[in-house]
Amino acid sequence: MIWIAIRMLTGDRQKFYGLVFGIAFSTLLITQQLTIFVNLLNRGATAVHNIATVDVWVMDPVSRTQDVVFPLPSTALDQVRSVPGVAWAVPHLRAGAAVRTPDGDLEGVTVVGVDDTTLIGLPRNLIAGTRDDLSVPSSVFVDDVGRTRLFPEDVDPIGARLELNDQRAVVRGIVDVDPSFTSQVVLYTRYSNALNYVPGTRNRLSFVLARAAPGVAPEELVRRIETQTGLKARTREDFAQDGVTFIIENTGIPINFGITVALGFIVGIAIVGLTFSLFIRDNIKQFGALKAIGVHNGKIRAMVAAQAGLVGLIGYGLGVLMATLFISIGGATSVDFKGFYTPWQIPLLTLLAVALIILGTGWVALRRVLKTEPAAVFR
């Protein structure tokens, strides 16, 4: 009977495709939007993720995220270094500046100053240049997404001259990192250089980056630094989360994506619900005949479940496939999707949404079939 149920459905091409499309569309919309949402949120934490070796970020008590920073006094570095359990601590600067490009355009950038000697704070992977190139005077490295904003596609940025705060800067490397939430161009340079590139003169230490000595837990080090220096300290994970939370609390992103995801769900219910009930209506006489002939309700249930389940499986599979294609093609062709990935929870969540749509519409359809009196076929 399951075979008959499946043929009843797949033989009705229009409705079958409509149903599969409805589920696939919902799946695509929900998966794709959730993926973009999660990855956008993660971009609130890219500056933290990009620096792998740091255990603890130390900052002014009012600083909140990588980009919402109040500068520290320069004494903070030695204060942190003197806390027991600190293996090393280095200065780190993040500040906004305006850069004049070779074409004469002005572009807002984030200047990141990394430790002069160890270069801690510089992301690990370079697309062009070597780490040593940053030691050359006036050297800056540009992030690979920012590079597309500063320079035309066909121009090799290596060796290009920029003007920052009336100072000369020369691009000598390209850093492979995921862009930040604002996608602003990031220029990496040595800390001492950075001080010349950003306007203003005093208190331009944004963070002190610290590493815990072996055997000291980052959480413990945070506690020690805070009690001993009066500064704010966050573990790497907590500070990354702070960046994400800031976006959640200060932008309309969660609401916007929430609305789209809800729409995907509602459209799915609407298309699938309507089409499935049309399908049942068209076949109600056949179902009635089957009941009269002697197909009991348990088998009828299994038939409708098989029909709904088939639609759900094919539609979900297609939808996930399309969403994956979308994300990977997007990641390959557009810097806006650089580094995007789909965490496994998202397809699972989508599966749950699809299951809800299928169960809801299947249940309504089933009730109609079960309510049909076998005697009605003689009418």
């Binding site: 009705d12 006489k285 056949q286 005949a289 009269a292 088998k299 005697a375 003689f378």
Partner: protein, 243 residues
């Protein structure tokens, strides 16, 4: 109350005793069958005729186990069918009764042989064997060459023959047909009735046909006429004034 507790089994293939049926309509209770008694023997083709609204469909629905009577007893080959559980009654229909509907009610997306095989598939027979038997039954009904066609690719008369194949494929002991020729032209209708006479009737089977079609009365072993929920004539022919 319905049931056969007080009715002894008289051995007839179908035995209907004191059947009444009420319908609720517009807040009123309407009695459409008034204490019907009827025995039908195996090996007979019985016609049930009468004006529209006289209760023919209601009566064969009750006889066929798809509509509960308000009062009375129905025995089908000895089984008090309305004392069965819902599940057992469904099972009983599947094994004992063949149905032919006015609107054929074939499944539009499977071919004729598969449609004819539906009761066997529902009984749990594997699909290949069931379809093979469906095809054999179609051959007996003269449409073996149509076995691979979808219902929409066949004429009304051919579709009704597929429906007849479906009603007979599992060799039920009772076959009920409600106006099987009503949607057909005279020629195909006659052909369908001839086939029912030739193929459906068997020594251990009763066939009951509700029909309007008075050109084909000559095929019946017995003719019942209903008026206003009562059987008013019972014989091998119809009275001259009904012809």
């Amino acid at each position: 109350m319905s049931g056969c507790a007080d009715v002894t089994d008289n051995g007839a293939a179908i035995s209907v005793t004191g059947i009444a049926r009420d319908f609720e309509a517009g807040g009123q209770t309407l009695r459409v069958l008034h204490g019907i008694d009827l025995d039908v023997q195996a090996g007979q083709l019985t016609y049930l005729v009468g004006e529209s609204g006289s209760g023919k469909t209601t009566l064969i629905s009750i006889v066929a186990g798809i509509l509960y009577p308000t009062e009375g007893c129905v025995r089908v080959f000895g089984t008090d069918i309305y004392s069965l559980s819902d599940r057992a009654l469904v099972e009983f229909r599947l094994n004992t009764i063949g149905f032919i509907f006015q609107q054929y009610n074939l499944i539009p997306t499977i071919d004729a042989a598969s449609n004819a095989a539906v009761p066997l598939i529902a009984q749990g027979m594997n699909r290949e064997e069931a379809t093979e038997r469906g095809r054999t039954m179609l051959e007996r009904l003269g449409i073996g060459d149509q076995a691979g066609k979808l219902p929409s690719q066949m004429s009304g008369g051919q579709q009704q023959r597929v429906a007849i194949a479906r009603a007979l494929v599992h060799e039920p002991k009772l076959v009920v047909c409600d106006e099987p020729t009503a949607a057909l032209d005279a020629k195909s209708g006659r052909r369908v009735m001839d086939l029912l006479r030739e193929v459906a009737v068997a020594s251990d089977r009763s066939v009951i046909i509700v029909t309007h079609d008075n050109r084909i009365f000559d095929l019946a072993d017995r003719i019942l006429i209903m008026e206003d929920g009562r059987i008013t004539h019972d014989g091998t022919d119809v009275p001259a004034n009904e012809r």
